[in-house]
Symmetry: C3
Subunit: 347 residues, 3 copies
Amino acid sequence: MKFTAAQIAFFLNGIVEGDEKIEVSSLSKIEEGSPGTISFLANPKYTKYLYNTHASIVLVKKDFLPEVPVSATLIRVDNPYESLAKLLKMVEQPYQHKLGVDKLASIDESATIGKDVYVGSFSFVGRNARIGKNVKIFPQVYVDDGVEIGEGTVLYAGVKIFRNCIIGANCIIHGNTVIGSDGFGFVQPTGTNYNKIPQVGNVLIEDDVEIGSNCSIDRATMGSTILRRGVKMDNLIQIAHNVEIGENSIIVSQVGISGSTKIGKNCVIGGQVGIAGHLQIADGVKIGAQSGINRSFTQEGEAIQGTPAIRIRDFQRSSVIFKKLPQIQQDIIQLQKDIHNNNNSAD
Amino acid sequence: MKFTAAQIAFFLNGIVEGDEKIEVSSLSKIEEGSPGTISFLANPKYTKYLYNTHASIVLVKKDFLPEVPVSATLIRVDNPYESLAKLLKMVEQPYQHKLGVDKLASIDESATIGKDVYVGSFSFVGRNARIGKNVKIFPQVYVDDGVEIGEGTVLYAGVKIFRNCIIGANCIIHGNTVIGSDGFGFVQPTGTNYNKIPQVGNVLIEDDVEIGSNCSIDRATMGSTILRRGVKMDNLIQIAHNVEIGENSIIVSQVGISGSTKIGKNCVIGGQVGIAGHLQIADGVKIGAQSGINRSFTQEGEAIQGTPAIRIRDFQRSSVIFKKLPQIQQDIIQLQKDIHNNNNSAD
Amino acid sequence: MKFTAAQIAFFLNGIVEGDEKIEVSSLSKIEEGSPGTISFLANPKYTKYLYNTHASIVLVKKDFLPEVPVSATLIRVDNPYESLAKLLKMVEQPYQHKLGVDKLASIDESATIGKDVYVGSFSFVGRNARIGKNVKIFPQVYVDDGVEIGEGTVLYAGVKIFRNCIIGANCIIHGNTVIGSDGFGFVQPTGTNYNKIPQVGNVLIEDDVEIGSNCSIDRATMGSTILRRGVKMDNLIQIAHNVEIGENSIIVSQVGISGSTKIGKNCVIGGQVGIAGHLQIADGVKIGAQSGINRSFTQEGEAIQGTPAIRIRDFQRSSVIFKKLPQIQQDIIQLQKDIHNNNNSAD
């Protein structure tokens, strides 16, 4: 399928600068662009590639000023990255042919299956499970007894969802993620051996949530572990029992959040952050990568980093000085000598 | 199923304070309690919720003194959390109906299958594998050639156990955990390309071990990677080849333990801790979250934290001062000026 | 199968010291060696075990000088670890009997399947997928539409490879690793809700790459996420969209590499390291465990550590002083008093 610059500009409400009739059939990165492709310039770090790209068309910001002439045709838009997303969404619909319940799927007769679903080979749907319409369940997925999957949700290959968990509409859950494994709870009646606390709650995921691959989201001891509407999670993330994540919060890969902690709305949690249990994180808090959070942060929109985390500016300032610690130590020894000498000379 | 306060108190050997005849049919968290549910108060942080909870019954400590009157019926017990566990265990037995070998499982004819097992759809049991009685193998599990699974063990959906690994009795292994993937061992004969060291050992897991979801436990190069009796592991944990974990040690999520390291008994390893290879950690050592361990700790019961780890009290004290480093640097500059001035004035 | 010391020495081009006719039938660790086994001594830390080992044969370095007499027969070789690898490779070929396409596999009729492949039970091979000769696909593997698998590659149980990804020859991918899940990319048109950026690229893995279990390697937004020839990755690693890893680089477990970062050749990245997005790491750079990399490192072969990472020597020196911060603070207070007193006495 080919599109002209004029057609794309019309679709994106953009302005063509160059050859309106030039055609493209696929997409490329600006630093690798080849003829017949469309690319985009969103991050100014990549501006240098624009001047040599072989992409036929490049999406740029409305007010972008090239420093030297550009051979590619430009389409000026408000937000090139967002326009790209629109364009990709129009072009890319890779799994449309996956429809129907495969004859090698195992579906309990008590399960409810909506219209126009896909259930791939070797997937299992248990007792009284309810699968909404337009759901896509890829091969080798496990949907346990009593699970509900909302309309339009996609479960990629290898996802495992355990008993009574509830997934909202239009969610995307990537390969091999586990939802509803037992929370980590034990008692030590005698001080040595541990007895398991049965985990009888579930996981409740609202609409429009996306969860990456190989994540672990534990069921609540009682009640629900909750991901609110619009939460976006990257890969390899640990969510412990009874955690709650507020609307539209972003969690980058390899984060671990311990039991019963509540994260506010619109938070951004950087990669490999660890958060202790039973804490509160206010709305809009931003946590720098690899931070360790051992207390609640109740001020909205605060930016923090470090282990234990402090305000991000303090972290950055102290980090710069960290590598000067040997010098600081020497300075102090010198000062001690100097004072000692002064004292002596003053005697 | 409903129980009265009197019945529950009898079962838990507790004392009722309030309405002995009040009935409950399910469980709730104290901050969300609703009529007809039983809740518990173990962590003093949650005491405030007791006074307003709508739970009908709350388990509290024998010596708990409410500050204001409580409308819920109380049951006084020695250890509310432990009593809850007992109660949950009595009530919650969710997978009892899962029994028998599914016709869509693939079981090698040389495998030995015990009595009263469950082998779910799309699970594979290889050559000469031995499955003990009362084992539950959920769907999509892989049990490779020569694997042994002890009596009463549960393997949740998606677990993969590779050749010759041995799992004890009454273990629980959560979804998508991999046991017996190759250890990470290579040689560089020419200094550039790596050649693989075949990993011919196995993983040996003793009785009563619980392992969370999405963990990776590598087989030994030779001999065994060993988890001793009663070890409890959370999710997303990496155990490298030839590691050994002592009895009843607790490992929180996202910990990584490198090759050939030996962890003692009754240790507690916090979330996201990393431990280098070929080290010894003594019995009862407690390692704070996110610590990096680059040497052996041979003193029993020591508490350590940091990267590299130091005694936890030292870590906490130094961490407080870390954010004052800019001030410290300024103080030193000021001191240097002051001394310089003193010297000059002393001249 | 038994081998004499003489046979093994001949195979390894080594020199026997002791009983040439002694036989061994399996391998052991030096600290656990039992009669009838062969062991090796590569790491000098383990030398002490040599003097008491019950292993019948031990591989040692050509120039090794025992301090006391050794009862085991020694075979002197250039590199004991490498010789061990050779030996293991000869001995250990555990999955040779796994051949043929299982009748419980689901293979699209448009897929191309090479000679002498193994496709295990409950594995799925999608439209137009191409499987090279001698490939081993274990049970419960997902090979999506348009995927290519090169000759001799092994995909262990539970691996999921999504659409259009390309895997080279002689690769090994361990259990439950996910290749080609969507990159983590969103736009916020209104500042609150996130819209997904479709991820239309793929993952390209060259020959001789080994990837551990439970790893997540995301597809590129456009173009390819690339692992070059000979890359070796441990378990539970996160590789984000559009990352590129250079030839023969080693990545230890639980590392996370953010979007569009380029890692050079022959790098070694320690466990639990996090690397921010859009960075360049030069060839041969060594990154200490748990480091956080927030800027490019362009000097070849540099060794760095810390969060944020600095030269490893600086990190080590400053780390030693970190625990003395309380003392440093006190020294400064004392100095301030001393100067104050001096000033007063000088008045």
